[in-house]
């Protein structure tokens, strides 16, 4: 049974479900749920696309998030990401199935892939959307600009429309446990389609990335040196969270730049952001103030971080932070 092409006025949404090592990422479920929600609201249909090798079982899980059908393109050559080959596959499947709306995660992979798709499909692309709504039968996207210092509402006017959705913002909702029907498809690929290909992946610390984590524990200049960041790491590990850093801490060489949160670092939206010894320069606030709950620990009561914090302790980070780790350990019953 094929997925019907979209009749006129019948929107078909393609949701790109990202996998790595045969496992779907959390953002895949978020994108799937968004496709379901907006297909329903637009009176259209949706399907997910999974690209990789031996991914059928993973693809079926998308059924738990409201997706009935998943198109799988399975090829050993596609086991590792290739910007050129993946773009070709997504564009061909989108065209074959009459998809006019594409959802991708605003992840490292989605952000790499989406612009190529925009060029291939002559489509407008709204990057890193944090909200979607339907107005007059059109999808309107809200996206942060200036690292979150402002928000814009945008409308895509081209026939094909692409949206990348910021991870952790769109909720995947409850897994119903349903299984999706998998339909395999193939796209003819030649050597030249792999002019860029991933040959290896190096995992940095094993901790979640600041952009993906539900909880981020961040340290700034107030940590007074790299030797004290183990206090940040301990709390982050206890909570299964990510370690973040202010630009000051990164520029001082205390922390790697991939942990930097802020305008020249990463913009994050976790459920809980704990800022330790961070005063809250405007560039930093831009990158983290969309976190759902913010805790600030800083000895300067006038620090700007307290203006965005839900809960603050005006005190010495070296007194408060270890106590917080201890208290949470007790709370989690890990003492």
């Amino acid at each position: 049974m094929g997925i019907e092409n979209g009749a006129k006025g019948n929107t078909v949404i393609l949701a790109f479900a990202e996998q790595r090592d045969g496992k779907l990422k959390k953002n895949a479920f978020e994108v799937a749920r968004a496709a379901r929600t907006y297909a329903d609201q637009l009176g259209g249909i949706c399907f997910c696309l999974v690209i990789g090798h031996n991914v059928k079982e993973a693809a079926e899980q998308l059924g738990g998030y409201g997706i009935e059908k998943v198109v799988v393109v399975d090829d050993p050559a596609l086991a590792a990401y290739s910007t050129t080959a993946y773009a070709k596959v997504v564009a061909e499947i989108a065209q074959q199935r009459g998809a006019t709306v594409l959802f991708l995660p605003a992840s490292a992979m989605g952000k790499d892939l989406a612009p190529r798709l925009a060029a291939k499909l002559d489509a407008g692309l709204a990057s890193d959307c944090t909200a979607l709504r339907i107005d007059g039968g059109e999808l309107i996207a809200t996206r942060p600009v200036y690292a979150g210092k402002a928000l814009v509402d945008v409308k895509i006017t081209s026939e094909v429309k692409i949206f990348t959705l910021r991870p952790n913002v769109f909720t995947a909702g409850k897994n119903s446990g349903a299984r999706a029907t998998v339909e395999t498809a193939s796209v003819k690929l030649t050597d030249s389609d792999f002019a860029a290909r991933v040959v290896d992946v190096k995992v940095a610390t094993g901790r979640p990335d600041v952009t993906e984590a539900d909880i981020v524990v961040s340290g700034g200049r107030g940590m007074k040196g790299p030797e004290h960041f183990h206090l940040i790491e301990e709390l982050a590990d206890l909570l299964g969270g990510a370690v973040g850093a202010s630009r000051a801490a990164v520029d001082a060489g205390w922390r790697p730049h991939d942990e930097q949160v802020g305008q020249t670092g990463k913009t994050v939206s976790p459920s809980l952001y704990i800022a330790c010894g961070i005063s809250g320069a405007i560039q930093h606030l831009a990158g983290m103030s969309s976190s759902k709950v913010i805790v600030a620990i800083n000895k300067d009561k006038d620090a700007p971080i307290f203006q965005v914090a839900d809960y603050g302790i005006v005190g010495d980070v070296f007194d408060v932070l270890p106590a917080l780790t201890k208290e949470i350990k007790k709370f989690l019953g890990k003492e």
């Binding site: 490292a108 952000k111 612009p115 407008g124 990057s127 006017t157 860029a196 992946v201 603050g312 302790i313």
Partner: protein
């Protein structure tokens, strides 16, 4: 090696954004503009490749005459040639990419460098669209680059680690912080940059595909509770995080 580096002129990161009278863009009054920070890494890497392999580096920027200031900074850092695609109209990323791709195509480069994104609209699109328009492979968010026998081996940043990507040249790359330490322009370089020619081009008009309907400030987050001044406040904090905020 023929290298093109695409650069942008953007509000300083210190900028306190105010919404402009049109309700769709920022109020530019008093805003200080700088070379897009990620583009500094792109320029630096381009110069290092030139120093290693020979060739020339051409900097391109699309925008108003104000972008000349940024092109002069690129000159001061050491690029060989600067092109301004003069355009005051509002363009989306697709439109910017179209204009850049048209000029880049004529230059027939081995490598095209971008910063990973402009810190104004944060679209992170132009590099990828240009790559596809030119039919070139690419790697974005690059933190390490090595070239051997016409193949680039790059590290690109992904969630929680790096992807090692092999890319056949010619190719398009976007630079992330960490790729290098950009040089400071020398005084001599700055002085000389003032008199260097900036070639001007006129782009073909394009219809935007993405339209900004409105711009607004994010909802202000009211300052929250100050719970205490030392570790004695910690049990109360944990209680609030659990019972009130429900995040742990």
């Amino acid at each position: 090696m023929n290298i093109v580096v695409c650069i942008n002129h953007v509000p300083d990161t210190e900028t306190k954004v105010k919404i402009g009278p049109d309700g769709k863009t920022i109020d530019r009054t008093g805003v200080n503009y700088i070379l897009n920070p990620y583009d500094e890494f792109a320029i630096e890497e381009s110069l290092r490749l030139k120093e290693k392999f020979g060739g020339q580096v051409t900097a391109i920027s699309l925008g108003s005459d104000a972008h000349k200031e940024t092109l002069r900074k690129a000159y001061a850092m050491g690029v060989d040639k600067a092109i301004l695609i003069k355009d005051d109209s509002i363009r989306d990323s697709f439109g910017v990419a179209r204009a850049l791709a048209d000029v880049i195509k004529e230059l027939n480069p081995d490598i095209v460098f971008f910063g990973k994104q402009s810190i104004d609209y944060d679209d992170a699109q132009v590099n990828g669209i240009v790559a596809e328009m030119l039919g070139l492979p690419s790697a974005s968010v690059v933190v390490k680059l090595e070239i051997e026998n016409g193949v680039a081996r790059v590290d690109r940043e992904i969630e929680g680690g790096h992807e090692i990507v092999e890319v056949k040249l010619p190719a398009v790359f976007s630079a992330q912080k960490g790729l290098n330490e950009p040089r400071y322009p020398s005084l001599k370089g700055i002085m000389q940059a003032k008199n260097k020619p900036i070639e001007e081009r006129t782009p073909s008009p394009v219809t935007p595909k993405v339209e900004v309907l409105s711009m607004r400030k994010p909802p202000a987050k009211g300052a929250g509770k100050i719970i205490g001044t030392d570790s004695s406040a910690v049990p109360e904090l944990v209680r609030l995080l659990h019972e009130e905020a429900k995040v742990i």
